[in-house]
């Protein structure tokens, strides 16, 4: 490969300085019997020109949002990404740097992440946010572990069935080897029944996990749920859509102790599911139990304001087995994207994105439910996404829409742990999400396709 090239005269000089005859001597460190005695079996090397041709060919066999109309939801959304986000985060000084261990060589990164923490704290209505987790799903699992640390309770964790099922699966997997019971509460009417919930919470319950707006797009009674949690000394973990707070009350205002979110909507491209951005914010008093990185403000030798990695004692490289999480490499560049996105949008922009998404989603729902054979599975208030029930089957709806260049979904049958919904319902149902990027014409096109 061209950018590896060291010339053979350079190699000879280097070997000479090292004092060995050949590279083989250096490789002797690896016992010969353990060395691979054949070349790797890999496809042939490609030059840049060939690689580009190859990738373009692969890409041409995928259906992407840019060339189609995307009404897909279920945790990832086709919100518009202003060009500035790409331009700024595409700077080598950001994307080819690493964890800002050397503060003097990393003030750009450090300040940007400090700004990220500030923006996310504001968005969540809570005091403090870390500088990113892997994604929304693992973020929920981390939040649950954090709640267990904070409360000292390991008996039970209650998760609403209306939480993103992939996040629920992450919680289940993370806790599989713990004594803790993970209780998933079916939400057959589209959202948590507060009275039913109450009966599952006791003094061994570490936390209640809800999502609002939830996986089905519906709004939860967060304040009442918070009261239920707090009555028993449990924490409320609220998974939220960071766009929704342009219009809706923020987790902190609603009583959440820990807020988590998938930050993809904040300027991160869809890219088949990752890298996305795990967001976690909490009340001040929980900060030392938080997973992840925290940037702090301080002053330097000359009294100048600057930033550094604070509270590292919570992290694995210092605390090791006692760390608040094993996370090391995080999602820094995505946190930067969100920072740029939010500073472009400002309060008014965020409000408009939220409002447009909400209005257009309601228009779409209204039109769709007038179609023979189409109805909304749930009837409560929703934000930008809803469950469409199509009597000819969800896959038929997806196929019909696709034929008109429109993508909808996912089908609920994609999620094995939604099994508390009857199979025939799952087979008929799918999510439809509408963002500010969609036009009335596109919505009408979807309606026509399904009518």
């Amino acid at each position: 490969m061209s950018y590896l090239f060291t010339t053979s005269d350079e190699q000879q000089q280097m070997l000479g300085r090292i004092g060995v005859d050949s590279l083989a001597t250096l490789l002797d460190q690896i016992p010969t019997q353990l060395q691979l005695d054949r070349p790797l079996r890999m496809p042939p090397a490609l030059t840049e020109l060939e690689l580009e041709r190859h990738l373009r060919e692969l890409a041409s066999r995928n259906v992407g949002a840019a060339s189609r109309v995307c009404f897909m939801g279920g945790g990832a959304y086709d919100h518009y990404i202003p060009s500035v986000v790409d331009e700024v985060t595409g700077r080598g000084e950001f994307y080819t740097a690493y964890t800002p261990y050397q503060a003097e060589a990393s003030q750009g990164t450090l300040q940007a992440f400090f700004e990220f923490q500030s923006l996310i704290a504001e968005l969540s209505g809570l005091d403090i946010a870390n500088a990113s987790l892997y994604d929304g799903g693992s973020g929920v699992a981390e939040a649950v572990l954090m709640a267990m640390r904070c409360t000292g309770r390991t008996g039970r964790v209650v998760v609403a069935g209306s939480v993103n099922p992939e996040a629920v699966q992450s919680v289940t997997t993370y806790l599989a080897d713990q004594p803790t019971e993970v209780l998933v509460l079916p939400t057959r009417h589209g959202k948590v029944g507060v009275a039913e919930l109450e009966s599952y919470i006791d003094e061994t319950t570490a936390c209640i996990v809800i999502q609002h707006p939830n996986f089905f797009g519906e709004l939860e009674d967060v304040e009442q749920i918070a009261a239920v949690a707090h009555q028993q000394g449990a924490l409320l973990i609220h998974s939220f859509d960071p766009i929704s707070v342009g219009l809706l009350k923020r987790p902190g205002e609603l009583g959440a102790d820990i807020a988590v979110a998938e930050g993809q909507a904040l300027g991160v491209p869809l890219q088949f599911g990752g890298p996305y951005l795990g967001i976690l914010a909490c009340k001040k008093e929980l900060v030392r139990k938080m997973p992840g990185r925290l940037i702090g403000q301080t002053v330097d030798r000359n009294g100048q304001r600057c930033f550094f990695l604070n509270l590292q004692a919570r992290e694995q490289h210092i605390r090791r087995a006692g760390a608040m999480s094993n996370i090391c490499t995080n999602q820094g560049l995505l946190a930067l994207r969100a920072t740029v996105y939010l500073s472009l949008l400002g309060p008014q922009g965020l409000k408009e994105v939220a409002e447009l998404s909400c209005r257009k989603a309601h228009y779409a729902a209204d039109r769709l439910k007038q179609i023979e054979g189409c109805e909304l599975l749930f009837t409560g208030p929703f934000f930008k996404e809803f469950v469409l029930k199509y009597e000819h089957g969800a896959d038929s709806a997806i196929r019909k829409a696709a034929a008109a260049g429109v993508d909808i979904g996912p089908m609920l049958s994609r999620f094995p742990n939604l099994n508390w919904l009857p199979q025939e319902v799952r087979d008929q149902c799918l999510l439809v999400a509408v963002t500010e990027s969609r036009t009335k014409d596109e919505i009408d096109r979807l309606v026509t396709a399904l009518a």
Binding site: A59, S60, V63, Q111, E122, Q316, T329, S343
Partner: protein, 491 residues
């Protein structure tokens, strides 16, 4: 010539009423919002984000970026992090429409190109590791460790064995114990031999039928290959335990020796290190794991499988392993980084992969030789991809610390190596030049270090002198952390 105005905090640059993005007017019927959403759910006002115009935003972040060192601008020999050059073609290609804009719930039939890429990536990772079953799901190395430990736990649970212990050397990366603890295991740390290698006798004392996994980084944190790794694996296997290879240092051995061949049962890759995913100022990464056949059924879902079409046509699908542990995150994985890793591997090919490792080893040994007179390494005559030198002699003779040298290097236009890690070496300085640096750069770096060690000690204690800031105060700031604008304003 620095623009200091533009690098104030966003909250300080904010001016009420300015804005950096406008949205189109609504083209759907203007139903009152109150009819759409219950009033008690609605916020009185949107969050108080800063208010800036687009040029403010651009100038702010562009100027911030110039306060960073990075691979694109500086030699960055941060040990253990493999800060190699990130080929620009990867950036272009990972942003192709049809890759960057694919929704994660898109149906398999609509993403055959992407699935083929991910399938081939699984195959290449399996081949390089010598371990046949792959999950691309984990988001980073630590996440891969955790995932593999969940797999191990599920496997033992399935076999009806109760194994509670994870063992690792003291020199292990912090993520190893942290992952083990997070997965619910008890941690056992080995002291190791004075030459930095695992002490098999010590290991044996801890091995029993409670032993689930022995985790070992190979090549280890000193940049040395555990020569007895096969032996080590054998004694672990003898008690029914599994061997986990922390693959963070695969850059030294890819194409030369394989974890699956030297006894590993599971491993993770750091695609962002070994296969040049750019480090993104802290992330994202990608930490795929490879495991032996008998562990394949426990991998998280989904994995990419090639369907037998009975014809030449290739068809790929997403599949759920039969005894899957479930998921460790939402969606498929950090696909954007996997695409970059794929591009890298396709660019190198089999010979190139090996060459890259060899060149990394050559560069590390060359730099080691250049520095030997002033910063000797305690362990090993030669090293693999990195080495740990010690500033202990300088500290004793001249009162110059590893930190002083590190900070002074910044003035010379070099990012410092990792310092004070691993703890087993006093005044440790861990250098990983990587294969993408030229001899000329290594020579210049060595020259700088040789100059620095002769400089006035006071100059070094107060270094750096040319950076935007110098030596942040940490003690008070840790006691009273200020982590947001809101908190600064309260101060």
């Amino acid at each position: 010539m620095r623009n200091r105005q533009a690098t104030q905090l966003l909250s300080e640059l904010s001016h009420a009423g300015r804005r950096g993005a406008e949205l189109p007017p609504s083209d759907v019927p203007e139903w009152p919002l109150e009819d759409l959403l219950p009033s008690e759910a609605m916020a009185a006002a949107p969050p108080r984000l800063p208010e800036l115009a687009e040029p403010d935003v651009v100038r702010h972040f562009v100027n911030l970026s110039t306060l960073n060192m990075s691979v694109d601008t500086h030699f960055y020999p941060l040990g253990s992090c493999t800060m190699k050059y990130n080929p620009k073609r990867h950036e272009r290609l990972s942003r192709l429409p049809g890759i960057v804009d694919v929704h994660p719930h898109q149906t398999a039939g609509n993403i055959q190109g992407l699935l083929e890429l991910l399938y081939e990536m699984q195959e290449m990772l399996a081949e390089i590791s010598g371990l046949p079953a792959v999950s691309l799901q984990p988001a980073a190395g630590a996440h891969g460790e955790l995932t593999a430990l969940f797999v191990a736990a599920a496997y033992f649970r399935d076999k009806g064995e109760s194994r509670t212990k994870v063992i690792f050397p003291a020199s292990a990366h912090g993520t190893n114990p942290a992952s083990a603890a997070m997965a619910g295991f008890d941690c056992v740390e080995l002291k190791g031999r004075s030459d930095g290698f695992v002490d098999i006798e010590e290991l044996k004392q801890h091995l029993d039928d409670k032993t689930a996994v022995f985790m070992v980084t190979n090549p280890n944190t000193l940049g040395l290959f555990e020569r007895e790794i096969a032996e080590i694996a054998k004694v672990v296997h003898d008690v029914g335990g599994l061997v986990y290879i922390d693959g963070a240092n695969m850059n030294a051995i890819m194409g030369i020796t394989r974890p699956g061949d030297f006894g590993g049962d599971m491993m993770h890759y750091n695609v962002h290190k070994t296969f040049t995913g750019p480090h993104g100022a802290g992330g994202p990464g990608s930490g795929p794991i490879c495991v032996r056949d008998f562990l394949a059924d426990y991998l998280p879902a989904p994995i990419v499988r090639q369907r037998d079409t009975g014809s030449d046509e290739k068809r790929f699908e997403l599949a759920t392993p039969s005894k899957t542990i479930g998921r460790v995150r939402s969606f498929f994985g950090n696909v954007g980084i996997l695409v970059r890793g794929y591009c890298y591997l396709r660019t190198l090919g089999a010979a190139g992969v090996r060459e890259a490792a060899e060149q990394a080893i050559l560069n590390a040994n060359y730099l080691k030789a250049l520095l030997a007179d002033v910063l000797p390494s305690a362990h090993g005559e030669h090293c693999l991809h990195e080495f740990v030198a010690s500033a202990d002699g300088l500290a004793k003779e001249r009162g110059i610390t590893a930190m002083d040298i590190a900070k002074r290097l910044l003035d010379y236009g070099f990012h410092p190596p990792t310092v004070y890690f691993p703890l087993v070496v006093p005044h440790a300085m861990m250098f990983e030049p990587t294969e993408t640096e030229s001899k000329a750069t290594l020579d210049a770096f060595s020259d700088a270090i040789h100059k620095i060690v002769t400089e006035d000690a006071d100059l070094l204690h107060t270094a750096p002198h040319s950076t935007p800031v110098s030596r942040p105060e940490e003690v008070n700031a840790t006691r009273k952390p200020v982590l947001t604008w809101a908190a600064c304003n309260k101060e």
